[in-house]
């Protein structure tokens, strides 16, 4: 009996000890303390902020997988505790977070000075809902045309300026062993569907979404791109696929590809990735689908920082989000492959990248040309718009289904999901 009692007491003691350890005591000095959740690429800037704030604000950093942002906030909402003070995520995450059913996102309009919002210009439009700002844009990830000057010279190609020229140029690669890129992931949407302004998340009213894969702006995409896929001049694999990298990209066989602004430093250049030699890669303006205003770019990435409405230190949290998106440090660090959305930071970033000898031309020009010309037809929505790419659109493309079937499958899946998040769906 005694031994049993001792054992039970010991067990309880272990439990209590663990509880004691884990309850985060508020810092005794009254110093604000904030918790930042960011994905791996944003960790260097968060760490720098932690250093700069030493003695003023206790900054705690936790890495998250970007895809987990919504679920992790939902878990915290259900538990009514455990929210981070600021979080990095996709613009669509903020659409979810600012919804009254979620309520995580704080209105930043008053917490952040007007000067900062002015500095963003159009760059922060993803965060604007009914005249209020609910997040700060980290970077603009508009698509441009990346091309290899060495291969272009070797084959005597000229840089395409329209999608038709892009297709014609790609066709000339047939039989040469060179490729016009791999599009079997989210890139197919960003490079072609979004830039073509195919309505897939078109908010025609507050809670009405138009998902219309039959629109001519959607059908023209398959019409133009399917022949390239059939001819094998573009790849059905993902641009991150180990096989594609080994067989094509790392062999310096990509003659051109449409890709977002961060691809140069992040995908094309690194040794562990495509590893394309210095002095070959240049960027040109995003090829236009049509004339006049029919020249939008798509966007792949372009994350935002959202601030918690539950934060005990709302000002410190908002300041952190401001620093993360606007600081000179972020703009000039070699670990920042992304095109800053904040104007002044962007100037510094330009100074660095435009002089980078790795590139064969000033890649900044093309990025800047498309940065404020991203299609605004599809808006951040509360249903898992991006997450469904992997399950349907790119899965179909990888499996060799036709592009129009892939789009229909995708559209069908989001048409089914949108009502669950409280949207009315229009399909025509």
């Amino acid at each position: 009996m005694k031994r049993l009692a001792v054992a039970l007491v010991a067990v309880v003691a272990v439990g209590v000890a663990l509880t004691g350890c884990s309850s985060g005591a508020p810092s005794s000095s009254g110093k604000p303390s904030i918790l930042i959740w960011a994905d791996t690429p944003r960790i260097p800037q968060a760490t720098e902020y932690q250093k700069e704030m030493k003695g003023k604000v206790d900054v705690k950093i936790e890495t998250i997988a970007q895809a987990d942002a919504q679920t992790k906030i939902s878990l915290a909402n259900r538990a009514k505790k455990g929210w981070p003070d600021i979080i990095f995520g996709a613009p669509a995450d903020t659409a979810q977070f600012k919804d009254p059913s979620n309520g995580y996102a704080a209105d930043l309009t008053k917490l952040v000075s007007k000067k900062i919002f002015d500095g963003f210009g159009e760059g922060n439009s993803d965060c604007l809902y009914d005249g209020k700002y609910y997040c700060l844009k980290n970077d603009l990830a508009n698509t441009v045309l990346w091309y290899n000057t060495k291969i272009f010279a070797q084959l005597g190609l000229t840089v395409p300026t329209t999608m038709q020229e892009f297709a014609d140029t790609a066709m000339k690669l047939k039989g040469t062993g060179f490729s016009a890129g791999a599009y079997g992931d989210q890139l197919y949407y960003a490079a072609f569907l979004q830039s073509s302004e195919c309505p897939l998340a078109d908010l025609t009213a507050a809670n009405t979404v138009r998902i219309a894969p039959g629109d001519s702006k959607c059908t023209r995409v398959a019409k133009t791109i399917q022949p390239l896929l059939d001819a094998g001049v573009i790849d059905k694999r993902s641009p991150f696929d180990a096989g594609f990298i080994k067989d094509v990209a790392a062999q310096d066989k990509v003659a051109m590809t449409i890709g977002p602004s961060w691809w140069g430093d992040f995908v094309i250049r690194p040794q562990a990735s495509w590893n394309v030699p210095a002095g070959e890669i240049a960027a040109a303006n995003m090829p236009a689908w049509g004339t006049g205003k029919d020249n939008k770019s798509g966007a792949y990435g372009g994350g935002v920082f959202t601030v918690s409405s539950h934060s005990k230190f709302p000002q410190a949290a908002a300041d952190a989000a401001v620093w993360m998106t606007t600081s000179n440090w972020m703009a000039t660090a070699a670990t920042t492959p992304t095109f800053p959305a904040y104007g002044p930071a962007n100037k510094l970033w330009e100074a660095r990248i435009s002089k980078d000898a790795y590139y064969a031309n000033n890649v900044y020009t093309a990025m800047a040309a498309g940065a404020n010309n991203i299609s605004q037809v599809d808006r951040p929505v509360r249903f898992p718009f991006n997450a469904q790419f992997g399950a349907t659109l790119s899965a179909d493309i990888n499996n060799g289904k036709s592009l129009s079937v892939a789009l229909d499958d995708y559209a069908k899946s989001i048409q089914g999901l949108a009502p669950q998040s409280g949207y009315k769906v229009v399909t025509k």
């Binding site: 939902s74 059913s101 993902s238 180990a242 992997g390 998040s421 409280g422």
Partner: protein
Amino acid sequence: MARSRSSRRSLLAGSIMFAPYLILLLLFGIWPIIQATITSIGPSIVNPAGGLQNFADVVADVRFLPALMNVVVFLLLYVPIMIIVVSVMSLLLDTVQGRWNLPLRLTYIVPASMTGATAVLIWYFMLEPSLSPYQSALHALGITQGNQIWRQGGLAWIFVAMAFFVGAGNWIVVQYGSLQSISEDVLEAARIDGANAWQIGWRIKLPLIRKYLVYMGILVFAAGLQVFVEPQLISGSVYTGIAKDWSLNQLSYDLAFQSNNLAGSAALSLMLLVVCIIAAIVVIFRTDFFEGTGVGKK
């Protein structure tokens, strides 16, 4: 009189001894089921009125049918493969007594240590033709690209492979243990009757361990029905989102924490739970596995 006092004391002591477990049972066995039942008929984001409509809504969800199909295909592959391979391997193991027996058993349980993320990492490397030690075998099957395997039709096989290697070794050792407990007299009698090793295995040993295999089948089925970790992890890797909402359990998780529909999630959990409970009741009352334990069929 004395007897009843001692029996009352026994009752008191028994209750005290049973209490700690009973508390855990009530808290983490019964309460969640009640909780799920209440939640499942509550108001949901798509159905503010609540009620049984939540169940219909889940079934009508665009993700439900594909996930159900995936799980059915997974189970149709996984359960038979498990039962067949485990019984064959344990029967074979039982025929080779001697010093190699133990080392073989030890090698079989090695993969059991590689679960979850470890299994996903390993199978990524085993199945990526450019990195795999089985490269030539994959090429012989006409597989030269990772995405020929990592695709809708292939996923069920991949998850079967992952789950199989994690579970099979332990079960082989366990079923081998069952075979070891067969009395030598029975086997000797069969040998005298002229039965060879094959006949003994098929006609004598297998029927004797049949109920353990049925029990294993039910456990494997119940666990397979709830598959979650592997598809969830692979969706966060190279093939981003490839197995999103692939299994019913993932759908339940996403309903709760992505679609903000806790009622729907609870409804789906309950449906899965009912299937598991039916399986449990079948094994308890319709098989002879628990015979003699005071609960099984009389």
